[in-house]
Amino acid sequence: MSGSHRLRKIQGRLMEGVCLLAALLAVIPLFAFMWHLAAKGASSLTLNLFTQLPLPPGEVGGGLKNAIVGSLVVVGLATVAGIPLGVGAAVYMSEFARPKVASSLRFACDVLSGIPSIVMGLLAYQVVVVRMHHFSALSGSVALAFIMLPVVVITTQEMLRLVPHSLREAGHALGIPAWRIASSISLRAAAPGVLTGMILAVSRVAGETAPLLFTSFGNPYLSADPRQPIATLPHTIFTYAISPYDDWHRLAYGGALVLVLGILGSTLLSRFILWWHRRSLNV
């Protein structure tokens, strides 16, 4: 082996080592955090967590039923508004709009997706809370919908962009009306990616805390009424974590674990959808 060859080999190995170190530094904290969370929260992961309401401080036990139900309501309402609007906007931008119009709309979405979630919360406060004169689950949903919307639009549009134009041409050549091409051909072909994008958008807003601080506001009681303030999981975690009560700390960790497991689950679900779709094409 010549001298320069050996030198090059050493350089290659060195670079590899540096990159490996970087990867480890990035990933180890994640595992460390997961381990810590599991250790602290596993004990709380009982049925009680889902079926019991929180007890007054000082009393041991209780659960996060109100926060879990509340999160489901708030995120559910946000999804009902955000997903159809987002997908519809993306379909319009991808299939019908003129290029200039589409790129302007896309730019708007890019900007919106970068706005801090607390600002969205402020917007929802102005639009809903002030009008209704009190806090409500609805205002929280509106804030989350604002956050969800640009994410859904962008991922849906990207997935639609991946659909080859030849498929749309084939649809046109068959004499299929444009709206049916958009729904039954373009969207259908992009469906797995769009679905995945939806799942990820929902799981992302499920963890938002800041905008809910002064919109849904939190509620110690079980409530599913959109017009009333409501507890949500991230907000409850915040409240309990900064409290001085050990039992509430335990519940906070339990809630955090539920959230993280939920996000893990939705990521796995989206992977599964993609895998299943790929498999069905290769049969």
Partner: protein, 249 residues
Amino acid sequence: MLACADLTIEFNRKAVLKGVSLQFPPRKISAIIGPSGCGKSTLLRSFNRMHDLTKGARVIGSVTLDGREIYNTSEDPVLIRRRIGMVFQKANPFPTLSIYENTIAGLRLAGVTSTPVLKEAAEKALVDAALWDEVKDRLKSSPMTLSGGQQQRLCIARALAVDPEVLLMDEPCSALDPIATSKIEELMFRLRERLIVVIVTHNMQQAARASDRTAFLWMGELIEAGETEAIFTSPKKTMTEDYITGRFG
């Protein structure tokens, strides 16, 4: 009879096709030949109003089917495209639909819902496209499991299922091997009996083998058109002669 008269097509004010007048009689396969960029695909696409979908495209002149102008504002392009079908250079079956669903896609998305009607139309179309025997036992499987030639025949079946009067074929065999090509040429001969078939090809031998009439385009203009035997044994224009003998293009 499909015909165009003094057809000029501009893209963003640049003329790509100039003053082309041609006729495509029934029960005949007509070929359009010419070097790359001469406007043959542009001409073909004007026959089913595909240029309506392109920004900046302008079609001047007339295209008539059985005497009726297809570019009249009162005509619905969607309905025109059901009467004038098209097959593309690269087979483009819908990947998320099964073979059966692909075949009836045009019918179903036009609003036909009756299952017996759809099944019958699918079988007829696949038989006409010489694909029925090869797929009848796996109508539910994905079209991506078919070979390139079979996929192209599936696209032909899909186009035939809506029962068009004209079939436009834009270099349908250019991505296929000789055996797949000859299968498609054979089915073209059978289709000729009930449809007007117009094929764009850059393959001289295919035009000579498979067509009854040939038109030669160059730089957007029609140079010569006539019976295929005449064009290939004694063309009238020197440019035609030079092109088909390979002296240019």
